[in-house]
Symmetry: C2
Subunit: 575 residues, 2 copies
Amino acid sequence: MADKIYRVNMTDLSTSIEDVPADWAGHGGRGLTSTIVAAEVPPTCHPLGASNKLILAPGLLSGTSAANSGRLSAGCKSPLTGTIKESNSGGTSAQKLARIGCKALIIEGQAQDDVWYSLSLEPGKITINKEEELVGKGNFTVVDTVEKRFPGKIAILSIGQAGEMQMAAANISVKDPDGHIRSLGRGGLGAVMGSKKIKFIALDAKDGKVEIADQDAFRAANKAFTKALTSHPVSQALGTYGTNVLTNIINEAGGLPTKNFSAGQFEGHEQISGETMHDIIVERGGKPKHGCHTGCVIKCSQIYNDLKGKYKTSGLEYESIWAMGADCTVDNLDQIAEMDHLMDDIGIDTIETAVAFGVAMEAGVLNFGDSDEMIRILREEIAEGTALGRIIGNGAGNVGRTYGVTRVPVVKNQAIPAYDPRAIKGIGITYATSTQGADHTMGYAIATEILGVGGTADPLSKEGKIELSRGLQIATAAIDSTGMCLFIAFAALDDETCLPALIDMLNARFGLNLTAEDVTNLGMSILKTEHAFNLAAGFTNLDDRLPEFFETEPIPPHNAIWDFTGEEIDSFWNF
Amino acid sequence: MADKIYRVNMTDLSTSIEDVPADWAGHGGRGLTSTIVAAEVPPTCHPLGASNKLILAPGLLSGTSAANSGRLSAGCKSPLTGTIKESNSGGTSAQKLARIGCKALIIEGQAQDDVWYSLSLEPGKITINKEEELVGKGNFTVVDTVEKRFPGKIAILSIGQAGEMQMAAANISVKDPDGHIRSLGRGGLGAVMGSKKIKFIALDAKDGKVEIADQDAFRAANKAFTKALTSHPVSQALGTYGTNVLTNIINEAGGLPTKNFSAGQFEGHEQISGETMHDIIVERGGKPKHGCHTGCVIKCSQIYNDLKGKYKTSGLEYESIWAMGADCTVDNLDQIAEMDHLMDDIGIDTIETAVAFGVAMEAGVLNFGDSDEMIRILREEIAEGTALGRIIGNGAGNVGRTYGVTRVPVVKNQAIPAYDPRAIKGIGITYATSTQGADHTMGYAIATEILGVGGTADPLSKEGKIELSRGLQIATAAIDSTGMCLFIAFAALDDETCLPALIDMLNARFGLNLTAEDVTNLGMSILKTEHAFNLAAGFTNLDDRLPEFFETEPIPPHNAIWDFTGEEIDSFWNF
């Protein structure tokens, strides 16, 4: 059965299952969400109004046995940035959606009344139900409750209180294979789902399968691909320490933004490092190595237990730990794990929210390092939607505007993540030029500048950084279309068998003859589609800039400043 | 003595008194503030950072005996809109500053420590003092206290708590001749003064006088000018009912935005109208007719007393009454007067703040019509800087973002004032294209569309409205440079003796030979300077748009929508 477009209109509660337009056929994941948003969403519309659409799309290889192919993309116009937005996550949804035969789910329109709904999809069928029981509940309750309502093994996408309240930092949350939470985290996708009044989406693939044009070729390619992934040293480090392997590394590089981006090294880095975390996890009977989706061979996730050996959180990422840790000067991993758990439950972006806390600390709303107060605010203010909760839940830029703070680390109103662009300049180009606001995953220059993957580059030097970020951003747009986890990029950059194997899988899946050049062209075309949307939404090259303070405040220990000219940055788009 | 530029640098607390550069010589008021901002402020800087500058400039005729010439302009990059900003006000400061011989006061830089200061100016002298006593105090206390500190008759510019807390709706407040408060109200100028850590500026002209090149010609021109002003019927209505003469008129036209812009007529209009207000004022021994500055011959201000006959507020404007009244569905003038008094004291824009209340009501933060709660929030939340106070004090757009509201009446993040652009379309063009965000005073199309001044035009028709708004915006930019109150425009549009008399006064003051064409060219050049600043700050023609809901929600009773195309709006700039 050919894949279809599943469409839900919340204005009149109508649904349809449509053939895939020819223009969309070659797209999946981010390429598809961005193509559909560009085609169907008026660029100047209000992100929380009836004209915005929420698009969910599995990657081109999702639902197959391909290693690491379980990423789900969601796209819309972002209520945080006002740009086009794609965010992707592991968990179980991408594979289920693909096996339902759904190439993309488009949710459009807006109910006039104040009634909440849920959606459920199975092959060839969309059901809309009113929802009362779960309104106001956190994601863990939603997952537990919804799992019991369905007889089969389902995937669940949901929003917590943050999404219901349409906070601009709200996630769409995804159940992982163990019932824990992964997050489509950046740009407020959860607020858009909330604006459509959809509390959760249940995906039941029944006995649906993804068709493979050439099974033998697919199996052979997947074997080569898996070997490339598992043998790369960064993959191995990720499986041991998780992404938090980076805390000590980035601190050493002087690029660990500390105390709301006022320094590049954190005294408490050792206490929150991946090495420390690994020991704590092992000591308490957790799992240092855990996959966020079936088929992952890197397993950078983990199960973090509390002092009593009881589950606390999983998927405790470097960027989350940095944001709650160094940026807020909190050096206690248990407190950070508690906050991570709360943010999973409330359904709110750890990076955006913790950077927002850092700005609030600068404004004097709470003290730097006061993790008890952060936890209280998460529980009593953000989850409850008090005035302070709304201020923080709408992100770092909103906190900055509301308290008149000038050191506000955002690009296009999205919080800058865990790598200081003054000390690691290539990632700064990614922050500045990304079509989605500041986002390290859009072109992870850290790979080359810090980890020596795909070559080496002096992080403090501007040289070659435009080209580095451009190449990575193009490759990432293509990878984000396949359903592959971005962490395949380490092997793809260093191991010459990796990318051909990936292309072989795409060809075997669809019966195509794609070349490496086709994949690069795909990536370029996605970036251009996204950029064109942003220009039509009113963005200009002047939005491709870092905040003023990066140019005026040198960051210790290197005392480096951000010194790219506008002209240099703008040359990014010369392709 | 030739006029000078007075300059204060708050980074190193240095001062200087400089000759006027040739390029600035022909400018005053708004023309001068915008010229200086364009010359000295980096367009992409943070409005609350060290790179922004606050410019104060009296008009070209301020300090003379010319009727209605007491407006002071202040300019900067706005923390509310991010655009260039000029706001002007009556009160006593323009005349004092002109008589000091100060063509413009430029306040630049930013102190690193948390110390507050005051400035005092007299002819040839600038003094910077540390200020402790008045920090945290409202404007009325500031005025009372500062007046006692100086032996002579001084003018005072100050900020209340809103400006200290750098709220984006904060005013710079100006003492009027009776010690009451007038406001440089729109765009958050008070936040910029707060960011410079200046609590007040005292102006002592000593025996300073403005030089007049040809006294006889000046006197004759002023006489003709005064006659034109006082004989116009709109001037007379303004002197009787204040600007609040408009409540019933705009309600009748179906353009009185009601309940956060969801209707065009307000059931309680009669209770808050100028006619009702006039009777209340007379009954309680207030003054229905009062000048906000010496030399005003229109006297649209008034003294509004409370039930016991005690002073409550003055300068109770139509737009303030509309915003607190119809937009929040409050039909009690005493409550409105109480809020007006509180906002004067706190130093916060009545329009921005009350429209922000309307959006907060739509979000369910408080109920429509609950003026007791509005008063409580002003006193206990905004003045105290609580989380909710900060949300509202940063304006309507900030409330909308923080609560995820889609019906948010702002352009360039500045609240749309008291005339619905669906029902009165010419003023909508002014809102959309103004260089300063939504602002009726930038090109008051109401004059022609509703009051029949300068011709007539059907308010519901698009026809000729681009040209109408353009002509008015050009004329307004010129008028705002003279120090003249905008209300001279009614006479200027209808009485052919008015504008020549104004030009004669300019020529007599400076010994020039300006023509009407020169004045028009001045207005055009000011608009172009401001527009160029905004483009360099990252604004595009897509920012010259009204919010989406005006296009999709018809407004009763006419059920009109906003139906200008982008192309039509953009033709505004074809001059």
